[in-house]
């Protein structure tokens, strides 16, 4: 490391901002501008990567910016869960940048400089969320992430985009101010600190009703986790260009939500306290319901991105569920689901975008026989779908495996049933798309090979291979996930 380790974290978060300046300076030359984005993304990833060995050895890094309120600082501190999240977000940013080059040009979007700028800013804030050392810092970056992604969601600037953006902003800001913020202040009033600490920050004799109410407030306050009934913003956000949907609404933003929940479960409540709370039961059932209902809604959607959006709502609830189980397998599965779902869903979104760029098709019913024209895309879609469902040989297998184990461990057989039905539903709404793509449609029509632009294809290949790699070598992922559970004890 060039800088002292404690300065590396703020430096890492600043790198995308330097990227913003470079992008601004080179805005007249699209090729250089996009090269700048790529360079920034790679640098950011490398910066994040260098923390990995230390974190695995159990080191903690921390850095304090300011202490505006006594005992409450704005500070960074890196632990395994944040490491996991930061790694995924920064790695997938590189891939998405490659993809965006093909997509934005292919689809002829306006205001591309603004797009790249806010993209970089959003990634920076995502890293801020990942690095946060306490609830207040997390809240700050969480809010800034919401605000900085609004221009991306409303990118097209037409009425539909603005309306979608309003719903997006409305729900996310409302839940965070109405639930998250009071929960934070209340936590401070009860526990006297907001720092994330292994095993939680509440006393053993904390009032169970208060803790339960706080749990409810937190789980609905992190509206980005899209727990029903506050999930409407996610489908609304699909008006955004596909790279945005891919990185932000399959990875950064939604994962910031579930990351927050998992982090709060682990480092604010701790496994022991969670197990004692009645509110946990309520939330478990809500999460189960969300999983099933969102899958069912997904089946009714013919628009590909809308179907993927509801699929995301359902899959996010898996993470929520795992966090609430508060058993070893449950929490580990939850942490792994963050990673495997990210790879699977980003692949699917990339494919949806590639289809749009190549054929302008957005409805699933129009995509029959598309596999013959776009074999790579459709194959990747197939792999991504397998990962979401949780079938080998994809990474999703492991997270689903541990989550199932978690439900068994804690004795919620009902929830295990929910997970199994949900997998069936996933099969029912995802797999027909590639199957129809390869085998449906009119076979006698001459096939014209028309894949998406090359950068898109590269990105799609990388992420779908990622899904496979996570199956073959999940050790690193598992190791981080296991450390997360240790933190909850």
């Amino acid at each position: 490391m060039i800088l002292p380790p404690e300065l590396m974290m703020p430096a890492t978060v600043l790198v995308p901002f330097i990227g913003v300046i470079l992008i601004l300076l080179t805005r007249k030359f699209p090729n250089i501008r996009e090269a700048m984005t790529l360079v920034t993304a790679v640098t950011t990833f490398l910066m994040v990567l260098q923390f990995l060995p230390g974190v695995l050895e159990g080191e903690t890094y921390s850095y304090t910016f300011a202490e505006p309120l006594p005992g409450i600082s704005l500070a960074f501190s890196l632990e395994p869960l944040g490491m996991l999240f930061a790694l995924i977000a920064s790695f997938l940013w590189i891939v998405t940048s490659v993809y965006a080059i093909g997509y934005m040009r292919g689809a002829g979007e306006q205001n591309q400089t603004r797009f790249y700028i806010f993209f970089a800013i959003a990634v920076s804030f995502t890293l801020g969320v990942a690095f946060s050392a306490n609830l207040l810092t997390l809240f700050v970056f969480y809010e800034m992430l919401t605000l900085s992604t609004y221009p991306l969601v409303a990118h097209k600037g037409n009425t539909a985009a603005r309306d979608g953006g309003r719903v997006y902003l409305g729900i996310l800001l409302t839940t965070s101010i109405a639930f998250f913020l009071p929960a934070i202040i209340w936590t401070y009033a009860v526990a006297g600190t907001l720092d994330f600490q292994p095993g939680g920050i509440f006393d053993d004799n904390v009032n169970a009703v208060v803790a339960g109410a706080l749990l409810l407030l937190f789980f609905y306050g992190a509206g980005k986790a899209a727990l029903m009934p506050f999930h409407r913003w996610l489908p609304s956000a699909m008006v955004a260009p596909t790279p945005v949907s891919a990185l932000l609404h399959a990875v950064a933003v939604v994962k910031a939500g579930v990351f927050t929940l998992l982090k709060i479960s682990v480092y604010i409540f701790g496994a022991d306290l969670l197990l004692d709370l009645n509110a946990r039961d309520i939330l478990l059932y809500i999460a189960g319901t969300t999983i099933l209902l969102a899958s069912l809604v997904a089946m009714t959607k013919d628009n590909l991105k809308a179907r993927l959006a509801y699929s995301t709502v359902s899959q996010l609830a898996y993470v929520t569920l795992g966090a609430l189980l508060a058993t070893q397998a449950g929490m580990e599965g939850s942490a792994m689901q963050i990673a495997t779902h990210a790879f699977g869903k980003i692949t699917l979104f990339f494919c949806a975008g590639a289809i749009y760029v190549a054929t302008k098709k957005t409805e699933i019913s129009d995509m029959k026989g598309l596999g013959r024209a776009m074999p790579i895309t459709m194959l990747a879609f197939f792999i991504g779908a397998m990962s979401i469902i949780g079938l080998p040989p994809t990474g999703g297998t492991w997270s689903k495996w541990y989550l199932m184990l978690g439900t068994l461990e804690s004795g919620y057989l009902f929830l295990m049933g929910v997970l199994m039905i949900s997998s069936l539903l996933n099969i029912a709404y995802l797999l027909p798309i590639p199957i129809q793509g390869f085998f449906g449609g009119e076979k006698d029509k001459p096939t014209v090979f028309s894949e998406a632009p090359l950068p898109c294809l590269i990105a799609i290949t990388v992420t779908s291979i990622g899904c496979l790699v996570l199956f073959i070598c999940p050790e690193l992922l598992y190791e981080l996930a296991a450390l997360v559970y240790l933190g909850a004890l």
């Binding site: 505006p68 309120l69 409303a154 603005r162 902003l169 800001l173 101010i177 109405a178 009071p182 202040i185």
Partner: protein, 496 residues
Amino acid sequence: MMETILSNLPALQVLLPLLTAPLCFMIRKQGVTWLFAFLATLGSFAIAIDLYREVMTNGPLSYHMGGWEPPWGIEYRLDELNTFIVLLVSAMATMTLVFARKSIEKEIAPQSFALFYTAFLLCFAGLLGITITGDAFNLFVFLEISSLSTYILISFGKDNRALTASFQYLIMGTIGATMLLIGIGFLYMMTGTLNMADLASRLPEVMDTNTVRAAFAFIIVGLSIKLALFPLHIWLPNAYGYAPSTVTIFLAATSTKVAIYALIRFIFTIFGVEFSFGGMPLTAIFLFLSILAVFSGSLSAIYQTNIKHVLAYSSIAQIGYMMIGIALLSTLGLGAGILHMFNHAIMKGCMFMALGCVYFRYGSARIEDFKGLGKTMPLTMAAFVVGGLGLIGMPLTAGFISKWYLVLAALEHGYAGIVIVITILVGSLLAVAYIWRIVEAAYFQEPENEPQGEAPMALLIPTWILALATIYFGLDTRLSVEGATRAAESLIGGGL
């Protein structure tokens, strides 16, 4: 010589602007009057800093006007509370004057410049006098000095409605001040003294009389008009809305704050907590009205098309927050209220200055004028957004700090506290709604007007100083929180 000056600093604090005012009126040369006014304000600011330091290290000090001993003569009494307010008022006045030089060129006829600065200085002197004096009747006199000059300042507005707004304020303000006068008269009847400290020590004997209760009611209502507590706020939106930008900045940042100070002084120092809150249902009344103020102010703000009115209604809501803090009757609550006075002055000052920049370029401040400003006036709009975030209560801004303490104070109060917390949060959400409308117009809509370019540096610099202050006091809260805590402690005792 130097020693004489130093020993008379409390008097100079007020006299400097008060005596420069007629000087400005006599000189009548545009540049010179500004310079004189600025130097007087700056000097006053410097004295305020010195006195603040002095009081913070050595405790309260008392100054006897003309050498007459209190309670016969007029006493200037400086304690933790009023030096803090004096510091705030003089700092904001200095910033406003920096902004004024360029801003009034577009909004006031050149022949009225000297008159403007005269009225400004008188108003400033009046506000300082209210804050610094230890004599109840003297407070009334200074209140009238500042009020009368405020009416003049408002009537400078280009819009004809400024005249009617000023007249409306004159009627309401005079009724308020007269009520205060009645109340002070009653107190004098019962105690035979006008000195605040003396009043405080003599009142307990006669506390249980209807005369004192009537005095209390008159004083509270009279001051509530001046500080625009719901539902006595109707003068405020028009007064803020049609006054010249500079005047709006100054009034929003100082005038209502000083009125709240006077209220705190009467409630806590003169009548005492036991009487005010034990004998009178003041907590219930204030909480009820403040909660209504937050809701009605914020909701009205959402539906305004003139941005000056948006911010004016938002001020009514914010005054609600300050009054909630006072009504909570704890050091924590009172400290939060005082802290919010400080933070709100900075944030609102910043936003009204940004508005003044827009006004400077476009001659009006309707929502349509804001369309596309994110591109054409990026610096102005960025400052506006910073102020707006503060108003919403985003962390990293000053607004968050005061709301944080306010919520903590409310949580001490059980179920009633939860209602307050909900009010504060809903108020924040409504603030998001009215700020977002403007932000959306500025950044995501195409301009309707001919783009005019960024505001001149002379306006941008003070605007940005306040914007940075909004952020600074969200990060480093030593000055603001300590000042407010010490002030609250000096009134109730205990820690924040």
